[in-house]
């Protein structure tokens, strides 16, 4: 355990020194604060728009961060051969892989928390009364970003960074269309479409399950257990992808 903590701390420091981390943090926070401050808040509809915009901003910045970092975080160690100096130390390859994930987990947690804080403070400042200050939408974004990060890192083991980025954004798009596919399966008369739809629904995580932005915008919430279930669903996906990643990583040659 102390090995993983040591590695994670090191990778975390490496991560927050990267320009992309600063850019994502600044862009995300600016988006949140500006859209809340600039939205004319006298009408309900416009208030909602401002909230929605603000949440979308933090989602976009964190998803970009996850995909871009995921596709290069481990890959750059392999390409620069920095990995030779670390893997020959008293640690195992799974420990190395898990620590990469854990360090991004910490980084994402920090940013999601900061974004929630910024959201809360600006909401209070502009006098949003009656609005929920729930962290839940930020938790949803957090889980989605973590899932995309683990997917991008997994892909970067055997494809170029470029392909890993492309595939991860495709997963993001398709993952958000899952409800549409489910609708198609139910209502289409063509069996081919039903089959394709079913396959996609099975192999692609339903990213709409983490989209809790509108719950806050309309202040209409689901039962707590539902959020717990969705969170568990996301974390199981992360675990599965990580499991396959470790499987491949332990078999790889680092020439």
């Amino acid at each position: 355990m102390s090995t993983i903590i040591n590695l994670s701390k090191f990778f975390f420091k490496d991560l927050i020194h990267r320009r992309i981390f600063v850019v994502a943090a600044v862009v995300g926070l600016a988006f949140i604060v500006l859209s809340m401050l600039l939205g004319p808040l006298s009408f309900n509809e416009e208030k909602r728009l401002a909230i929605n915009f603000s949440l979308a901003g933090s989602q976009i910045s964190l998803i970009f961060l996850a995909v871009l970092v995921g596709s290069s975080f481990l890959k750059s160690d392999i390409e620069s051969k920095a990995i030779h100096g670390i893997l020959t130390r008293p640690l195992s390859r799974p420990q190395y892989y898990v620590s990469k994930l854990a360090s991004f987990f910490m980084c994402l947690l920090l940013l999601s928390f900061l974004m929630w804080l910024a959201f809360l403070l600006t909401a209070l400042m502009v006098g949003f009364d009656g609005i929920s200050v729930s962290m839940l939408p930020f938790l949803g974004i957090f889980i989605e970003a973590l899932l995309l990060f683990s997917f991008a890192m997994f892909l970067s083991l055997f494809t170029s960074s470029f392909l890993a980025i492309g595939a991860s954004f495709s997963l993001f798009l398709v993952g958000h269309w899952i409800p549409t596919f489910e609708y198609l399966i139910r209502n289409s008369s063509q069996s081919v479409i039903k089959l394709i739809g079913t396959i996609i629904v099975w192999v692609v995580p339903n990213l709409e399950s983490f989209n809790w932005k509108s719950h806050l915008t309309y202040n209409e919430w689901l039962p707590v257990e539902t959020y717990a279930q969705f969170s568990a669903y996301g974390l199981i996906w992360v675990l599965c992808i990580t499991f396959f990643g470790i499987f491949i990583f332990t078999k790889q040659d680092f020439a």
């Binding site: 102390s2 090995t3 040591n6 090191f10 420091k13 490496d14 020194h17 990267r18 620069s80 051969k81 920095a82 030779h84 100096g85 893997l87 020959t88 130390r89 008293p90 640690l91 195992s92 040659d253 680092f254 020439a255």
Partner: protein, 292 residues
Amino acid sequence: MSTVLECSNVTKIFKTGFIPKPVKALDKISFTIPKGKVTGFLGPNGSGKSTFLKVATELIKPSEGKVTFFGGKNFYSVKKDIGFVPEKPAYPVAFSGLEILKFHAAFTGVSKQRIDEVVDLVVLTDAIKRPVGTYSKGMQQRLSIAQALLDEPQLLILDEPLSGLDPDGREILINVIKNYSEKPGRSVFLSSHLLEDLQRICNNLVIIHEGRLLFTGDPEEVFNPNEFRLTIKKSDGIKKIRVNKDGLNTELKKIIDNGDDLHEVVPQNKSISSLYFDLMQNDKSKIEQKRG
């Protein structure tokens, strides 16, 4: 004599490209490294030295054969006792040298005092708090050696530690390696494609060429010059002649008998290419003997 490294039949075939083209980097290599010696690993560019060291440190898997340490243990189980300096040490550029060393020290609980010690050893004290991104190649190399020395390992493995360094840098590193190996029981295995480097520090030698083992044993056997250049002052001027080892005595006797003045005797080292050539000829005739 006990050994620190044993390998048997190590073969590595790389498959690269979309339609895999096999490249045989190592071909059935077997040898052992005795404990307490500084072993040089000599071979021209592309002969498979780095590939072998990567197989040994489990960075890549051999296609066949295996490498073991300290009497049959695999690398993973003895990582704590082995310091490794890779061919191209690389670090995240934003960290300082000290942060890197602290990170490595934490794996085995190395003390702060030991960190200061190794920094002094490799003469990095002035730069140790600067970001690694600002280090020169030689400084990165020295940092990597400092890191490898942290745990006071039994065995130090270095892949071309002297390549690309200026004379001062080489001098520092050669001294570090010499000092390290002076304590009893410690062993060093270092690769190089330069004979002169190894000549200065090694008391054991392994030579490979195109992935095949050419020689293991006492460096004297290959370094020992077979030829001498004699400069003789005769009454009618200066004369330079070359004689081989066997003829040396007769030649010296002749000079004394003639009453000439012997000015200089310079041993003529073999050039590295003729060394490889001779060893390869040797190797071929051995193979033919076996076949015959």
